[in-house]
């Protein structure tokens, strides 16, 4: 554990806080785990002063969608290793999905996750399953789970095929004001698909996953939420059609929110066979990357360039509320196999913020929008009133970013136990140099 500080003064940094609509140089006074005061210049007696000239101060990022693999798959990731990866990437809170073993469908598992998280540097927010065992048949004990600390409900990794069950999940969870996070996928259309149904599937004979497989289920989910007048959150939007459905629903007043992942915002289907990935790879993984890079295999798949453009536009205009990583760690040998046999998923916690900064550099987002998509909107979606902004009284959860620092993504240096990133070798500009949770420095570069 890092030292427990009573008070900390961050001087001369550029504070960017969408929650307060602030972007400018502020001194920030942190006391006892909370933000005490912000002012252009502050002179107070504190335990430690840090000069942040040239650096940015942002509210800690909140990831709505990670897989921490514990309990059950500790060889892929643990709550501790995942949380370390989180803070190294500027995430101070992460919401972890329920597809562990056992599934997080009972208060016992939720309490176990929170117990494991006590020694973790990031705040871990358990998302409980919607259905028992994620089998899509019987609702979990939502009341019990909420009391134990569940922040949302999701059968992520799977859809809830039974519309009646999904309806009742929406109705029942609204009792606790906890959102449903929906992984939208029509199983019959998804079938044994591996990649986006497009030019790569056609040319290489890889089974395609049509955009429709996602959009049909998004439409169903939105229709249920609209009918029931309840909020719903759509996970990992990947297609233009999905964006249009969410946009139209929002215009009608449906309480729908949506997230997109960095990989869907930066990569399209061609990455599956793109040889430029060849150079930068970890020696052990090289063979599987030669042509069919299994670190481009995730669900939903990398879509067309047109879809990527639509996602970026939707992110800029706010149709997509949040950037979430869908951090999905897998062990190296699990990915070093035939494309068709590799598990779906890529890690994202340690690259997301720098990629989001790249969106700023490319003019897709303003710095304030970046903070909105990574901090304030996720906090709002989860109903977390103590974070997502650095207004006085809020938790002192923040990251310090060097916007000029250039670095090369080297999976060998990840804090995550897993290495399965499609961004290995990418040269990125802007990096987290310090992360503070509840007023304590939990990460320093």
């Amino acid at each position: 554990m890092s030292e427990k500080l009573f008070s900390l003064l961050l001087k001369n940094g550029r504070l960017i806080d969408a929650g307060q609509n602030l972007d400018g140089n502020f001194d920030i006074f942190l006391v006892d785990g909370k933000v005490r005061e912000l002012a252009p210049t502050l002179s107070v007696t504190v335990d430690q002063v840090i000069d942040l000239k040239g650096l940015w101060v942002l509210p800690g990022a909140i990831d709505l969608h990670v897989h921490l693999r514990e309990p059950g798959f500790e060889y892929k990731e643990t709550i501790l290793s995942g949380a370390r990866a989180a803070v190294a990437g500027g995430f101070t809170s992460v919401a972890c999905m329920a597809n562990t073993n056992p599934v997080n469908d009972s208060a016992t598992v939720t309490r176990f996750i929170l117990e494991q998280a006590r020694s973790a540097p990031a705040k871990v927010l358990p998302i409980a399953a919607i259905s028992q065992g994620m089998q899509g048949e019987i609702l979990v004990e939502m009341g019990d789970l909420v009391e134990a600390g569940a922040v949302a409900f999701s059968d992520d990794g799977k859809t809830v095929p039974n519309s009646k069950l999904l309806r009742h999940a929406m109705e029942y969870s609204s009792l606790f004001e906890k959102p449903l996070f929906c992984h939208c996928q029509d199983n019959a259309l998804f079938a044994d698909g591996l990649v986006h149904e497009g030019v790569i599937s056609a040319a290489h004979g890889l089974a395609g996953i049509p955009p429709l497989a996602e959009e049909i289920d998004i439409a169903r989910t939105i229709m249920l939420a609209e009918y029931l007048k309840v909020p719903v959150h759509i996970c990992h939007l990947s297609t233009r059609g999905g964006v249009e459905l969410v946009k139209a629903a929002k215009a009608r007043g449906v309480r729908v929110t949506a997230e997109a992942t960095p990989h869907h915002l930066f990569l399209d289907e061609r990455a599956v066979v793109d040889l430029e990935y060849r150079e930068a790879l970890d020696e052990n993984l090289k063979p599987s990357m030669l042509c069919y890079n299994t670190n481009t295999k995730m669900s939903p798949p990398l879509r067309s360039a047109e879809d990527v453009a639509a996602l970026r536009q939707a992110l800029a205009e706010g149709t997509i509320d949040a950037i979430a990583t869908d951090h999905a760690p897998h062990e190296a040998t699990e990915k070093a196999v035939e494309y068709g046999l590799a598990p779906f998923g890529v890690v994202g916690l340690e690259t997301a913020l720098s990629l989001a900064l790249r969106l700023v550099q490319e003019g897709v987002l303003t710095p304030l929008q970046l903070v909105a998509r990574m901090s304030s909107a996720p906090a709002e979606i989860l109903g977390l009133k103590d974070r997502g902004s650095l207004a006085p009284g809020m938790a002192a959860d923040l990251m310090i970013v060097d916007p000029e620092r250039e670095w090369v993504v080297d999976p060998g240096k990840f804090y995550s136990l897993a290495r399965n990133t499609p961004f290995a070798g990418w040269c990125l500009k802007g990096q987290v140099v310090k992360t503070i949770v509840d007023g304590q420095i939990v990460f320093s570069l």
């Binding site: 591996l194 290489h204 004979g205 395609g208 049509p210 063979p287 070093a336 494309y339 068709g340």
Partner: protein, 308 residues
């Protein structure tokens, strides 16, 4: 002139010169099959491992005969008898084979990219004998060798490929190789077996009905319909498929009078092709099989380091 690659993984990235080099070399190997002693010492001392993770009779035998006629030592390994059934990963299997120092590994595998995975892993040359629905380069090249016996492989020639395009590595490898040589390719499949977006990436003409594809064709290439695919809702019945897409004598009359008929085998007689056509005078189906040995000898010869 030579063929200077370490591996033959597909026809997609072969140049016209490389294709013609292999075809010319294969042409010269044809004659060996007519000798009383069908053996030349070209690859004496070389080891060729046939690594077949999918059942195959024709292709595996063809590679084995080709290797033996070049005096290489050919070893067959099939998945049913291998450690694969014990759960060994492909990489471990291949590392073990590499440890026995083969010169050439011929691989067939049900997953796309398996040959590429191995090629990046081992020093031996790798020949892709079929990876999922992706590529089967030696089949396409032997098809070209067969076409060249009857037609000029050049712009102006029209080849119709009819059948399950979506799941066919034979179709893909033929499309890449033929279009590289400037040949006109018309494809026709049930809409459920036509990959979306194929026209965007290949210089081909997609026809709705087989009749459209057949008109003016110099070569008619029928694909095997995989009967087990019926479970997958792709077509209502064998009977319906045969009625609409099967090649019979009447339909063949739409093609050029001197058109040849090809099939990569194994055939479903009475389904995609009638026996009358398959055994008819315009069928070159058995020539394809003969040419397969010569073509594979040429590929082994170059990859074995003798043709450079």
């Amino acid at each position: 002139m030579g063929f200077k690659r370490k591996d033959l993984l597909g026809t997609r990235d072969l140049s016209a010169v490389e294709i013609r080099t292999l075809l010319e070399s294969a042409e010269s190997f044809k004659e060996i099959a007519e000798r009383p002693l069908k053996k030349v010492p070209a690859l004496r001392g070389k080891t060729v491992v046939n690594l077949f993770f999918e059942p195959s009779t024709r292709t595996r035998t063809s590679f084995e005969i080709a290797a033996k006629r070049l005096s290489a030592d050919a070893v067959n390994m099939s998945a049913a008898t291998s450690s694969v059934v014990k759960g060994e990963s492909l990489i471990d299997t291949v590392d073990n084979i590499q440890a026995m120092a083969p010169d050439i590994v011929v691989i067939r595998h049900r997953y796309v990219g398996a040959a590429h995975l191995i090629a990046g892993r081992i020093g031996a040359s790798v020949i892709n004998a079929g990876d999922g629905a992706n590529e089967h380069p030696t089949q396409a090249l032997l098809d070209l060798l067969t076409i060249a016996e009857h037609k000029k492989l050049e712009p102006g020639l029209t080849v119709a490929i009819i059948g399950d395009i979506a799941h066919s590595r034979v179709a893909r490898s033929n499309i890449w190789a033929l279009t590289t040589l400037g040949v006109t390719v018309k494809v026709c499949a049930p809409p459920t077996m036509l990959p979306r977006g194929l026209e965007e990436i290949a210089e081909i003409c997609v026809c709705r009905r087989p009749e459209e594809a057949l008109v003016g064709a110099d070569v008619v290439m029928m694909l095997r319909i995989q009967l087990e695919r019926q479970d997958r809702l792709l077509f209502p019945s064998i009977r319906d498929y045969a009625r609409i897409f099967g090649l019979n004598r009447r339909r063949l009359e739409l093609a050029r009078p001197d058109a040849i008929v090809m099939h990569p085998g194994p055939m479903n007689r009475g389904v995609e092709i009638t026996s009358e056509v398959a055994d008819g005078e315009r069928s070159v189906i058995l020539n394809q099989v003969s040419n397969g040995v010569a073509l594979r000898m040429a590929v082994l010869f170059f990859l074995g380091g003798q043709g450079a």
